[in-house]
Symmetry: C2
Subunit: 576 residues, 2 copies
């Protein structure tokens, strides 16, 4: 079949099943080709729904279009979400990414039928909760599914879900369907019938706010963008060795002495505001207070708990300057456990991370207090580390939280950690099966696929030829191709709760937060919503659409290609 014949099929209704119920079959090659070459970037839903039937009939949104909420006592955050959806429809004004842009569609949409409403219906017999309440449930109790139906027969469109969170995900999809031309909003692909739900619940973005401080407004803007691609988890690496910007009730000295300045602090009020803002947008804030490593700055307020503070040469005692980490002693463990008890009260999520990466051995070996303790008790490093881990994890478990920790803690068989720990695989994708074999649930954030900061060069002052430790740059294509379920049994696959992009901010501030994150982090959003196995050529036109729509909404997303390519799907593939 030639390209002409293929494209002439565009009057038919295609059914797309990119992945079904946990399966990760890839899109049919013929459909991928069809989407890339014939439809171009019209088909702009991101992430790709589980099931999609689309037509090729133009359909207008009427000027008096309205959302109808057929719920008694709808929660306030759902009403706000509807209001934002209305606002995006009015303000996006995104012209379709084809040669000629909006002008190219004036003829096809002239005289098209209109829809005047989208009716939101809550089905099933689930207790009605707010979006906020739904996203704060444990991962396995959430329901994000929805069914969106947009007919062409003049009837209104409907959005059904079992939960307000599902309705919110459906509203997000609805907002991606409409293009602007000459004062009109339209799709060229009605009728549409979408049945959707995510493959993974944890679809995240990690942001480090310690190496450089990120103001509250910039984080809120990031939440907005995350919600547009259905990301569900903000993993907040809030403190580290360089600064301690988190104000914790009862532990105020940590931020007073450890923040870069009085302005560079997240107050309890800021945290509450951020957690609420995120939750209303279907995002769970999982805070990480990295311990026992990455804690040098605590020595500013509590020198008694920190080993090797600012020891030199730093490279012997830490992965990056300054050196210093919490001692693995009863006093320091008790302090840290109490700290987590206080942190647990600030964050309503069911999960909190204690970190656990890059514990430096020479730092402890050269610490007099550690040596004395080991000598006095006959314990070794791993035994004291195990004691520290158990103290901190137990304080979280007592507070009703599921502990999250880094892969080192799961892969060290000399340690005892909680069985229900969620393990973050960050070093390399090769470690994922190793953690799974130990029976833990995992979050996929491996640096070879998911690190947004790789490839930006070495940042040490005098290291002229240095590259970043995780070179090269991880492109959206690289992330998209991560086949992290490969060679796992079904039982093993069920231990993967999802994954996330990670942004470390040694060279990032509010100045480049948007361009380093967007639209790349959307690649992870689809990877974890739709499952691995997607086709990059078919995805690219839709991802251009995501980026251009983000620009319309005030996010400084970068262009992934010359605009010439964005307007001509497929022509800038290597093989075209």
């Amino acid at each position: 079949m030639g390209l002409g014949e293929l494209c002439n099929q565009s009057t038919e209704t295609f059914v797309c099943h990119p992945s079904t119920s946990g399966d990760t079959t890839s899109m049919q090659p013929a459909l991928a080709l069809y989407l890339a070459l014939c439809l171009g970037s019209v088909f702009a839903i991101w992430p790709l729904p589980r099931s999609l039937q689309q037509g090729s009939t133009p359909l207008l949104l009427s000027h008096d279009f309205a959302f109808e909420i057929s719920l008694s006592h709808p929660p306030g955050d759902l009403l706000s979400a509807v209001s934002r959806s209305q606002s995006y429809l009015q303000n996006d004004k995104l012209e379709r990414l084809v040669v000629g842009r909006g002008a190219a569609d004036r003829a096809p949409i002239s005289g098209a039928k209109q829809i005047s409403s989208l009716k939101l219906v809550l089905g099933g017999n689930r207790t009605m909760r707010s979006i906020t309440e739904e996203i704060l449930l444990p991962l396995e109790e959430r329901d994000e599914s929805y069914i969106l139906d947009i007919p062409t027969n003049g009837a209104g469109a409907t959005l059904q879900a079992n939960s307000t969170l599902g309705l919110f995900r459906g509203l997000t999809t609805f907002g991606q369907l409409w293009y602007y031309s000459d004062g009109k909003l339209y799709t060229l692909e009605a009728p549409l019938h979408i049945e959707d739900s995510p493959v993974f619940s944890w679809r995240g973005l990690l942001l480090d706010t310690s190496r450089n401080f990120i103001p509250v407004d910039d984080i809120k803007r990031t939440f907005d963008a995350m919600s547009w691609v259905k990301l569900s988890t903000f993993h907040w690496h809030v403190v580290d060795s360089q600064s301690f910007p988190l104000q914790i009730p009862g532990f105020e000295e940590l931020s007073q002495k450890g923040a870069y300045s009085a302005d560079a602090v997240y107050t309890s009020g800021d945290v509450q505001e951020l957690v609420s803002y995120a939750a209303e947008r279907g995002i769970d804030v999982v805070v990480e207070v990295d311990t026992p490593g990455h804690t040098a700055i605590i020595s500013e307020s509590h020198p008694e708990f920190v080993a090797c503070p600012q020891f030199t040469p730093w490279a012997t005692f830490a992965e990056e300057p300054p050196a210093g980490q919490l001692r693995l002693l009863p006093d320091a463990a008790n302090f840290t456990a109490n700290l987590f008890t206080a942190v647990a009260k600030m964050f309503p999520s069911s999960m909190i991370s204690t970190g656990g990466d890059e514990v430096n051995v020479p730092c402890y070996e050269q610490d007099l207090e550690m040596q004395q303790y080991w000598n006095a008790t006959g314990q070794n490093l791993n035994q004291t580390l195990s004691m520290f881990m158990q103290a901190t994890q137990q304080s979280l478990i007592k507070a009703g939280k599921t502990p999250v920790t880094k892969e080192e803690m799961a892969l060290n068989d000399q340690l005892t950690i909680a069985n229900n720990s969620l393990i973050l695989v960050w070093k390399t994708s090769a470690d994922l099966p190793r953690v799974i074999e130990r029976g833990f649930r995992v979050i996929f954030a491996a640096s070879d696929y998911m690190y947004l900061d790789c490839g930006a060069g070495g940042w040490l002052g005098d290291d002229v030829n240095a590259t970043s430790w995780c070179d090269p740059f991880k492109t959206w294509q690289k992330t998209y191709s991560a086949d992290f379920l490969a060679n796992l049994t079904d039982a093993q696959k069920s231990l993967v709760v999802g994954g996330q992009h990670q942004l470390w901010t040694e060279q990032t501030s509010a100045a480049n937060l948007d361009p380093i994150t967007w639209p790349r982090a959307a690649s992870g959003a689809e990877l974890f919503w739709s499952g691995p196995g997607g086709n990059v050529s078919a995805a690219l036109p839709r991802l251009h659409d995501v980026a251009y729509r983000m620009i319309q909404r005030g996010i400084k997303a970068i262009p992934l290609q010359p605009q010439w390519c964005a307007l001509r799907p497929g022509l800038c593939d290597l093989t075209s």
Copy 2:
């Protein structure tokens, strides 16, 4: 001598001669260490002046501080520059980059003497011209030198120069001296005596506005930032194969059919506005209309002049999609020569670039018209290319312009090009001596040191593991270390007119223009003002200062390190 002893010397006056009259001796190690460890980022002048004497006495800028211009009939652009300087003093409010920031200096500046004026004096017997007129002179006729004197005895400060351009450079230096604390502006390093002039006249930044369009306001903001680090040349790669955003009188069809949209066009008025805005800020706009390669988009309006338009596979016919380049035939050469005549009228600079890179041979070999011409005339590719080059260069020379061209045209000994051509070395630094040996003047822009876009990953849609062709990312340190005069004789060194960073915009738009450019492009600014051989450890605290001051002025410059490092000079070196 220990560090303590070294730092105790801070009450003395150090004399710094980083490079004298074309020499490129590097800073003394002891001084570099002193600057990095004792003064920290106080010493914040960028680029480093040719000669600097500094003290360690605190000095305040009085609340009624004023610039005194002791010139009769000062040009308007000098008055505007003074007005901008005043505005920066009022609005920068940059706190010094030390632990505690501004608060750390409250004690030392309490009761310090004040200066109430800076007197601008034009010396020598040079004809008085505006800044605009000075920067539009040929490279060898400019005088950017100045002497800045800031005493501590209560007398006013003075700024002397032979030209308004020199005064402007001195004003820029003056604006870098002052920090903010508690409503006061101060330096800790009076008295100051600076005698300064650049090693190279061409200190540039190349920006591609074809792959993705960059709006006029973003280019103007870039001019402001360029002027703050004394960059002198904006090399405007305005058009390429992907889009033709330049409106040229008499050739309006090129942008009408070749721009991405009617909004993505630089009108004649825009060009005039940009050229003026730049020149008032000491920046010469050297436009580049790349020919005969990189011209596929011309086929939209003039298919008769373009060989292999959008031929596939594109990789056979071009370095990136789409394929297509101007035919090397008399008609096309004549068209292009006339185009350059028209372009020359739009741009007052004494220099214009005809491009000349990446001419694709298979594109011509598979072009019927080229084949017919070669058969009919007995000419070969190089002879027709030589004809094309001469036609285009001659049109510029007739218009009074010096032609700029890429290294390929100088290194191909089968071509005849104008002897006075300025040759841009872009492929690799190893090519610089080769071009010099052919007797041409050169601009250093080699991709292994000067490309801002390297390391951002491959952008072709389906190339999952691709990196950028010029990986890795070029850090500021890498640029700063470029020893491009190595192994040249003095006579050969005199052929180097300077150099520039280059920013190709396949993955850049207004969204990431600032963070990808700043503060890295400042590294080139010092490399070409102060000459190669600088010490990265000593430079870094000053470069942090540049970046933080840019943020205060609204430029989204990235942080080069965690703020912990920026506040503690030297502690984040590899060797510390």
